[in-house]
């Protein structure tokens, strides 16, 4: 099933959708009066191709979320350039216009990423506020929202509920629906399953796979979980202390890791073998979460 899925995505020749060119980001933090500099992104360059799932792995603090924040325009880089669909969206100094609605992000913890005071309807329509009126009218109607909820496996009446009325997995489905409501081209997934139960994780991954085909999405998938990365991603970039030490096709990376750090990363997670990840996905019940 995985092999089939990867074969049908002929991504190797596809055009680039997201390009990072020598991206640099430093943080200055004061620790007991002393200024400490953290280099969270150090000359990072890579390209994500249209239609692929690009994995970003690395230990905690290696700079994965920082890269996502830079792509989303939440932080400005200190050096380098980020382009999306051929247009520069981030560079040091002056802020280039950001293509709101075309890039979305799904966050780690759906308990924190959904405002507890908003109903699902409000949550889903919020990203539409910054897109064109035509797009807002087309995707913001009740019918369109109900259809979207169906596509992520939620009932129409969910629209009028509050987040606390849903389970963790269902909340992440709401967060995924919110990311898709503007019909983005690129979705950044920052550890989207790590706050969920193991059985639910597999269902969310499967949902993301089917949505990718349905919406024609490109994913950047940030994860600690090498098993899921091996199952889900086409190519993987390995981050180590802010530096991208290796980028390779998933199969190559797992069979012949070229960098010492990658090898250590793979050794550190023996329980998450490739077979384990597939078994996890196959064993999961198919009903709603």
């Amino acid at each position: 099933m995985t092999v089939q899925a990867r074969d049908t995505r002929a991504v190797a020749a596809a055009e680039p959708i997201l390009t990072l060119h020598q991206v640099q980001k430093r943080f200055l933090v004061r620790k007991r009066g002393i200024r400490v500099e953290t280099v969270a992104a150090d000359q990072v360059s890579f390209t994500v191709r249209r239609g692929e799932v690009f994995g970003l792995v690395g230990e905690s603090g290696s700079g994965k979320t920082t890269l996502a924040n830079l792509v989303m325009g939440l932080e400005a880089p200190d050096g380098g350039e980020i382009s999306f669909c051929g247009r520069v969206i981030a560079s040091p100094g002056r802020r280039p216009p950001f293509p709101y609605g075309d890039i979305q992000m799904v966050f780690q913890d759906p308990r924190s990423s959904l405002n507890p005071r908003m109903r699902v309807h409000q949550i889903l329509t919020e990203p539409l506020r910054a897109v064109s009126p035509e797009r807002r009218a087309q995707f913001g109607s009740e019918a369109a929202l109900v259809e979207l909820l169906g596509q992520v496996g939620l009932r129409p009446e969910s629209l009028h509920r509050f987040p606390h009325e849903f389970s963790g997995g269902q909340r992440q489905r709401i967060a995924i629906a919110r990311a898709l409501v503007t019909r983005p081209k690129l979705v950044l997934l920052d550890e989207p399953t790590s706050a969920l139960d193991v059985s639910v994780q597999a269902q969310v991954i499967q949902l993301l796979q089917s949505l990718q085909a349905e919406f024609g999405l490109t994913y950047v998938f940030i994860s600690h979980n090498m098993g899921v990365v091996r199952y889900f991603c086409d190519r993987v970039g390995v981050l180590y202390r802010g530096r991208l030490v290796e980028v390779a096709d998933t199969d190559t990376l797992f069979s012949a890791p070229s960098h010492e750090y990658t090898r250590r990363l793979l050794d550190a997670v023996p329980t998450w073998s490739h077979a384990g990840a597939e078994r996890l996905v196959e064993e999961a019940p198919n009903g709603g979460v």
Binding site: L74, Y100, S112, S113, N115, E126, R129, A130, A175
Partner: protein
Amino acid sequence: MSTPIVARSARYGGGRMLWKQLTANRFTALAVACVVAIVLLALLAPWLAPDSPTSVHLSQRLSPPSARHWFGTDEVGRDLFSRILYGARISVGVGLGSVLLAALAGTLLGAFSGYWGRWADQGIMRLMDILLSFPSIVLAMALAAALGPNLLNAALAIAIVKLPVYVRLARAEALSISRQLFVKAARTFGLGSGWIVTRHIIPNLLPPIVVQITLDLGDTILLIATLGFLGLGAQPPTPEWGAMISVGWKYLLDQWWYPTLTGAAIFITVMSFNLLGDGVRDLLDPRRHEEGGRTS
């Protein structure tokens, strides 16, 4: 142990649940009853009062309580019961207005301060530190005197005195809410800070603000009366309790009912609102509840 559940249900739950828990404590139930009665008396004063609060009957000056004048009359023969009833309107109305003004302005300032951070935060908080460095009564007197002694200015002065509490409270909450991912998500949608603060931050910091409002009501009513007593608030012949006592205290020995009954009105009202505030705080704020060591 059960407080987090209580707090959560009060945060999300309906008003009926809150009402039930509020009246479970006997003192709080009494306070609720008194506050409801005071508010009703204030609202219905024009229908309940036997006489106009300002009509002078010099022939009946300083008469003792009787069937005709339940609370007696004052130095120009005005019916004291009517004046105290109308006084409730002023104390409760102006007190509530003043606290709500402080809460509204303070919440907005604090929420933006906490969300923006940096120099805006520094500036706003230093200003609040200055306000807080004065004893509240001294600051209220100075502001009321500077603005000019009348009821509206007294209310404004008290709102300014109460402002820093709300700014600090809202800012502290806004700081922790800003770290939540839903705020980060809203920023990725390209939404401005005005939208984020009013739609994401303020709705999530309202419970402690509501507690603070109920806690401040009693104190505010007392401050209004104090300013009135000192001649810095409502001016005669306005039937404001503090202003009434400022004249009435001279008659304490011979016409005791005049200052005593007016004072009793202030005491009962302030006491009721304070008890209500404590009850609401215990319900909605489990942290302070535990510190107080009370279990109910």
